[in-house]
């Protein structure tokens, strides 16, 4: 194996590590071979003295952290992808600018509207509950008034209405708690989902 073959093999084997690192290593071995040739060895001898190229590659790959390799891989994939669609995609994105901005705005607006509706419903639930409590309390005052003035039939009606209001209010309290919990969970889920989507896009 001559110097050029050795260095080419090395370069090929080190595709998985960052380019600067790989270039630096290839230069290092090139210098080592040249120095041996300068000392009087033949090219073949000098290459042999360096050792087996495959075990050198394995050693370098073993020393390189897994994260570096993964990062390099991802970067290369990204470059590949960008290289393929970039010019056309860029032109489309720019040309269709007046079109996709309103679309994004509408989707965003719809999302906000859905959340506003959800939380408005939660507020409405609480309002109804409070109204029922107030209504129940009002009925009791009314019943007292009717009893004092001797209108027994009205008082009976008032007791019925009051009990109905209070009973419904108690049920509504449970409904409110469940509904609020659900709304909070849904909101958190949606926010987490958006975060994942964004970080995923950055990583790809």
């Amino acid at each position: 194996m001559n110097k050029e073959e050795f260095l080419n093999e090395l370069k090929k084997g080190l595709l998985g590590i960052p380019k600067e690192d790989s270039d630096e290593r290839v230069n290092f071995y090139s210098e080592m071979i040249d120095d041996r040739i300068e000392e009087g060895m033949s090219e073949e001898e000098a290459v042999r003295a360096i050792g087996d190229v495959n075990s050198i590659i394995s050693q370098i790959m073993a020393e390189t952290p897994m994260t570096t390799i993964v990062k390099e891989r991802v970067n290369r994939e990204k470059e590949k992808k960008n290289g393929g669609i970039s010019p056309l995609a860029l032109i489309l994105i720019v040309l269709l600018f007046p079109l996709w901005i309103p679309i994004v705005a509408v989707i965003f607006g719809l999302g906000i509207a859905l959340f506003a509706t959800l939380w408005a419903l939660v507020v409405a639930f609480y309002a109804v509950t409070i109204a029922l409590v107030v209504g129940g309390a009002g009925s009791i005052v009314w019943v007292l008034g009717m009893l004092l003035t001797g209108h027994l039939f009205s008082a009976g009606l008032g007791i019925g209405a009051g009990l109905f209001c209070i009973g419904l209010a108690i049920l509504m309290v449970f409904g409110c708690i469940a509904f609020t919990k659900g709304a909070i969970r849904l909101t958190v889920d949606v926010i987490v989902g958006i975060k994942k989507k964004v970080s995923g896009k950055e990583r790809d």
Binding site: E31, M32, G51, I56, I60, E63
Partner: protein
């Protein structure tokens, strides 16, 4: 030998190889040959580590129509060698303790 210990020892050896004058990769390997066999890959890793730790500096110079990298020790690099000598003295006394002969009791 314990890898951590060996690594530290190799670092100091390479620093010692450039302590009196600047040197280059192959020369370092040759200088160390009588004491220990050092592969190119291992040397590269050590030089990189020492450079990152600012214990040596690297310059590229032309030699015979090609480029060669020369390594120069820094003040921190010299300090590292001194530290190693101090550590060695300490090790030596520990070694004395470990290998001492049993006294009396015969």
């Amino acid at each position: 030998m314990d890898t951590q210990m060996k690594r530290g020892l190799l670092d100091v050896c390479v620093l010692a190889a450039i302590q009196y004058e600047d040197s280059y990769g192959y020369q370092i390997i040759k200088d160390m040959k009588p004491y220990m066999e050092l592969s190119e890959s291992t040397l590269y890793t050590i030089l990189k580590r020492l450079e990152t730790a600012k214990l040596l500096t690297v310059r590229t110079a032309e030699h015979d129509g090609r480029l060669r990298k020369y390594y120069r020790i820094t003040d921190s690099g010299r300090r590292r060698i001194e530290e190693f000598k101090e550590d060695w003295k300490e090790m030596e006394s520990i070694y004395q303790f470990i290998t001492r002969e049993e006294v009396g009791n015969e």
